[in-house]
């Protein structure tokens, strides 16, 4: 369990596992976008959900130390960095020549991670934040944010190249929606579950449900540009229903343990 403000603590979920799911699942999903006009965007959207789960775990590890500014602030910042990194990376990929378009999404993620790291170092060295995992946590968080924006953009546009994304995600204004949608999906789970008896497995179940809810909406956004929009939307909605049910059941089980055996003992009584 981890207590907001207390920091550290044992997590029920291995951080390496969520990071692996986020990085590998997210990047595979984005890079498989061109394989098929229906299956590709679906995989990209699922990759973005993987990244959201990773981001929710990373934010839980950083914010459990107590930022003093609330959980949402670092969520907004990470998505701001993620969007800047994504746009700059996709545009920068073009500069390297058409043979290297493959590298553009990766460049976006790397740029976001670098910018996140720089901001965290500034926050630590100049502002004087005293959170030990701030640098690694912010880097993970901005990476997850960039992958989630890239995945959903690829799902809407049906491609991870700059020109289609610029046409169907940026010029339409959906990028602004993705900014807030992904912020909410990443920061809400820990913001809602923090406190004593926070169970990371339960938090991540909520993260999966917010991620799939975002995916269902992203499917609708792709109506004009992608053949896969209804598949993404329906699978997102079904998965949202299942993960929300899992979260509700986990919440009820944890509530039952309190209802049947009384409140947990205070720290002094150990």
């Amino acid at each position: 369990m981890s207590v907001a403000g207390g920091g550290g603590g044992e997590s029920a979920v291995d951080p390496k596992m969520t990071a692996g799911i986020g990085i590998v699942g997210g990047l595979i999903g984005i890079y498989l976008t061109p394989i098929n006009p229906v299956l590709g965007p679906l995989l990209a959207a699922l990759g973005a959900v993987c990244a959201i789960v990773w981001g929710a775990d990373a934010i839980a590890r950083v914010a459990s130390y107590g930022l003093g500014t609330g959980v949402p602030s670092i969520g907004y910042m990470s998505l701001a960095v993620g969007v800047i990194g994504t746009l700059a990376g996709l545009a920068g990929g073009i500069m390297m020549g058409s043979a290297y378009t493959m590298l553009a999404p990766l460049l976006g993620v790397v740029l976001a991670v670098i910018l996140g790291g720089v901001i965290a170092i500034i926050a630590k060295k100049i502002v004087g934040m005293k959170i030990p995992v701030l640098v690694t946590g912010t880097m993970e968080l901005t990476g997850a944010a960039a992958i989630s924006v890239l995945g959903f953009s690829a799902a809407i546009a049906g491609s991870y190249a700059m020109a289609p994304i610029l046409k169907s995600v940026v010029a339409t204004g959906f990028i602004g929606l993705l900014f807030i949608l992904n912020t909410m999906a990443i920061q809400h789970p820990f913001n809602a579950c923090l406190g004593p008896q926070e169970d990371r497995t339960r938090t991540l179940k909520l993260a999966a449900s917010t991620g799939f809810m975002a995916m269902a909406i992203v499917g609708l956004l792709g109506m004009g540009s992608s053949k896969a929009w209804w598949v993404i939307s329906i699978i997102g909605a079904l998965a949202w229903f299942i993960s929300m049910r899992m979260f509700l059941q986990a919440s009820k089980e944890d509530a039952a343990s309190v209802a049947w055996s009384g409140m947990w003992p205070k720290e002094e009584e150990h």
Partner: protein, 241 residues
């Protein structure tokens, strides 16, 4: 536009935004239950509200001279933060039933009204007194100018590139406006959150003792904005497809 000029404009914008946040009465969770002075929410929410309004009003002036874009952004941000503080005050005065008062000063530096007598024991003030209101408006002014400046710099740089050229010459390029808007919004959030880390979450305004931390906050925002500007140059270099 010269990329170096863009980095410079983005850096100046970041410093203005980061400095502006120090003026805004951010009350956080204690203010939400009326036990501290300020608007009862975090910096990120206030930055989202006033920053986005400022960017929209600045973007409405796209293609106009620079001073008009900056003034429009500033007015938008000031209006939004002003309305937020005013309506917040209505809730504190008529809803919660507290007097807008600050516990950080004995008398309001602007109206000279005594403060101490009206502070409920055990709290750090309530609502948004005059000095906080004026401070918040100054914060909106600085933030709005900063957001408008970043938007102008990125838009003017992008619109000269073939990929972002407007469909009809002389009109606004929607793609360039959106990219510039997202970049400026991102810059706004990054600097707002760094400034918010610097003030430790809550501040009342320029009369708050925490306001003395502003040099450190401005330095941090300066460095972060330079790096953001450097990454932003890639946006221009890749726009020639």
């Amino acid at each position: 536009m010269d990329p170096l000029l863009m980095i410079g404009a983005v850096t100046a914008a970041g410093v203005l935004i980061g400095g502006g946040v120090h003026f805004i009465p951010v009350g956080g969770a204690p203010a939400a239950i009326a036990t501290a002075t300020g608007v009862g929410t975090g910096t990120a929410m206030l930055a989202a509200g006033s920053g986005m309004t400022g960017l929209i009003t600045a973007a409405a002036m796209t293609g106009q001279p620079l001073w008009l874009i900056l003034a429009s952004g500033a007015v938008g941000s000031m209006l939004m933060i002003g309305v937020t503080m005013l309506v917040g005050n209505w809730v504190y005065v008529w809803g919660v039933g507290t007097v807008p008062v600050s516990a950080k000063v004995d008398t309001d530096p602007i109206t000279k009204y005594p403060q101490e007598k009206y502070v409920t024991p055990g709290t750090e003030g309530h609502g948004i007194p005059t000095v906080c209101y004026v401070s918040g408006i100054i914060g909106g002014l600085l933030g709005g100018i900063g957001g408008g400046l970043a938007y102008w710099a990125v838009y003017e740089s992008l619109v000269t590139l073939p990929a972002y050229a407007p469909l009809v010459s002389g009109q606004t390029s929607v793609a360039a406006a959106m990219v510039a808007g997202m970049f400026a919004l991102g810059l706004f959030f990054v600097n707002a959150v760094i400034a918010s880390y610097n003030i430790g979450g809550t501040i009342e305004g320029f009369h708050d003792p925490k306001f003395k931390r502003i040099p450190k906050g401005v330095l941090a925002c300066l460095l972060a904005s330079i790096v953001t500007g450097l990454i932003g140059v890639l946006l221009l270099k890749g726009g020639v497809f």
